[in-house]
């Protein structure tokens, strides 16, 4: 079973140890997906599988067979990208593709009414697009340069503006 990467069918690697992250970067040269820890702890490797955000470092490529993988290259162009630049939601730029992939999926999650740990009423059918909600939902994507304010601003701008 092939893996669909940004719309293109790709055969899974022969070596079952190869992570989705290493397949993307080292085999397919889709290097927009970054490796920050290879421990599932930083979010830099975030991609979408069947539209949901996951960590590609802890996903074996074989697990993605039969599924659709979308990387930053597949999202491009996305309104979040321009918003990140405009709001200076980046500095070194290394965590940025992972932040943007995570944010794109996160906006969908909020619109679908999926709650978070900071949502007051878990039984409510819709959740607000507040700064606290965005901060909690993006906490799996670490940034060391300290672009957090700009990242949250960019996401709120895109989400409020319904430009997605």
């Amino acid at each position: 079973m092939d893996i669909t990467v940004n719309g293109t069918a790709v055969a899974p690697p022969d070596d079952a140890r190869v992570s989705l992250l290493d397949m993307l970067r080292d085999h397919l040269h889709l290097t927009g997906t970054k490796v920050g820890c290879n421990q599932g702890a930083c979010g830099a490797c975030t991609v979408l599988i069947d539209g949901r955000r996951v960590l590609s470092c802890l996903t074996l490529a074989a697990q993605a067979a039969g599924r659709e993988v979308t990387t930053i290259e597949g999202l491009d162009p996305h309104p979040l990208q321009a918003a990140f630049v405009e709001r200076d939601g980046l500095q070194c730029g290394y965590c940025t593709p992972g932040q943007i992939c995570a944010a794109a999926a996160m906006i969908d999650e909020v619109r679908a009414g999926v709650p978070s740990y900071v949502t007051a009423d878990l039984s409510a059918e819709s959740v607000p697009f507040s700064r606290d909600e965005v901060r909690e939902r993006m906490s799996g994507n670490l940034c060391r340069c300290g672009a957090h304010n700009g990242i949250v601003d960019a996401i709120l701008e895109v989400a409020d503006g319904s430009t997605v």
Partner: protein, 325 residues
């Protein structure tokens, strides 16, 4: 990481591949441990194609397929309505990305985050290599147990979800070559004793099929509170899952389960017993959890958990007390 085979299970019957194989859920813990040299399976049997159904049961409860993703459970309307404590616990765990990957079965089977356990190259660990010693004792114990530990192992179970499941009296449905059986969550995890490598009562050739929860009287008055070193995306120092029902201002039923304090979610049965039938004043709650903590044995470096458990439990229950059941 050693060379490894990979295949997908087509059915539960297909899912007993042999001793050298491991079942693979989301992989969020297993793949990491393989990379760290802690786990060395010869093969990985991907069981995420098995049941991920979340369905109401006839008795007003809920059955969750073992392959259901954590995020799907937390977002499910029935879970949010009937078991908000469970939804909150799952949402407290890890990150959205990891919750999208992790399965319910995998969550229950995850290993401790003890740093000495994870350090295959440089630290001794009886859980990893039985009989080798425990470097955690005398080391950094912030995330280690205060209940039920042994001289061989002081590790804690890291799951948030399991703490809520313990409070909700969940049962784990398992299947093996000999058929199926049900294990109450309270009996699912072993305390370390002299065999910390044996973590659950699941047989070596058994697989978790689903988790079943009875109808809960606590939907409206339950909570999960996680206390940690970072505001988000960190394991619990201490967590409290609690639910309470009152009748005429007196505790009718109460559940308290603690996370981050033992090798299993710690049901505070003594505290529950003490509280049942009493008026849940702050003093009564305090006395109850203090009674529970009488059996705690903190390590040098995690003594603060005694006070933290006490205060957090009092705060959670006193807030629930004010919530209409």
């Amino acid at each position: 990481m050693n060379p490894v085979q990979y295949r997908r299970a087509e059915s539960v019957e297909d899912a007993f591949p042999g001793a050298q194989w491991r079942l693979l859920g989301g992989g969020t813990n297993l793949v990491d441990l393989m990379r760290k040299g802690v786990e060395h399976p010869a093969g990985l049997l991907d069981v995420t194609g098995l049941s991920e159904e979340i369905a109401a049961s006839d008795d007003g409860g809920l059955v969750i397929g073992a392959a259901a993703r954590n995020s799907a459970v937390a977002a499910h309307p029935l879970v949010r309505r009937r078991y908000p404590m469970l939804a909150r616990a799952i949402l407290a765990g890890a990150s959205a990305q990891i919750r999208n990957m992790a399965t319910v079965g995998g969550n229950l089977m995850q290993r401790t985050r003890c740093a000495y356990f994870a350090d295959a190259a440089g630290s001794r660990c009886n859980k990893r290599a039985p009989g080798s010693g425990c470097d955690a004792i005398g080391g950094f114990t912030r995330y280690h147990a205060i209940f039920g530990a042994s001289p061989e192992c002081v590790a804690t179970h890291p799951s948030d979800m399991a703490v809520a499941l313990a409070a909700l009296d969940a049962r784990v449905n398992v299947a093996g070559p000999g058929g199926t059986r049900t294990i109450p969550l309270a009996e699912f995890y072993r305390l370390p004793g002299d065999r910390p490598d044996l973590e659950t009562t699941l047989g070596a050739d058994e697989i978790i099929v689903s988790v079943a929860m009875p109808a809960s009287p606590f939907a409206g008055a339950s909570a999960y509170r996680k206390v940690r070193d970072r505001a988000s995306y960190a394991f619990a120092l201490v967590s409290v899952a609690a639910g309470v029902t009152l009748r005429d201002g007196v505790v009718d039923d109460v559940r308290i389960a603690l996370g981050g304090v033992a090798a299993r979610p710690w049901r505070a049965l003594r505290a529950e017993e003490t509280l049942r039938g009493t008026r849940p004043t702050d003093e009564a709650i305090d006395a109850a959890i203090t009674a529970e903590l009488a059996s705690a044995e903190p390590l040098p470096g995690n003594e603060f958990k005694i006070e933290l458990v006490r205060r957090t439990t009092v705060a959670v229950l006193s807030e629930l007390r004010g919530t209409p059941a």
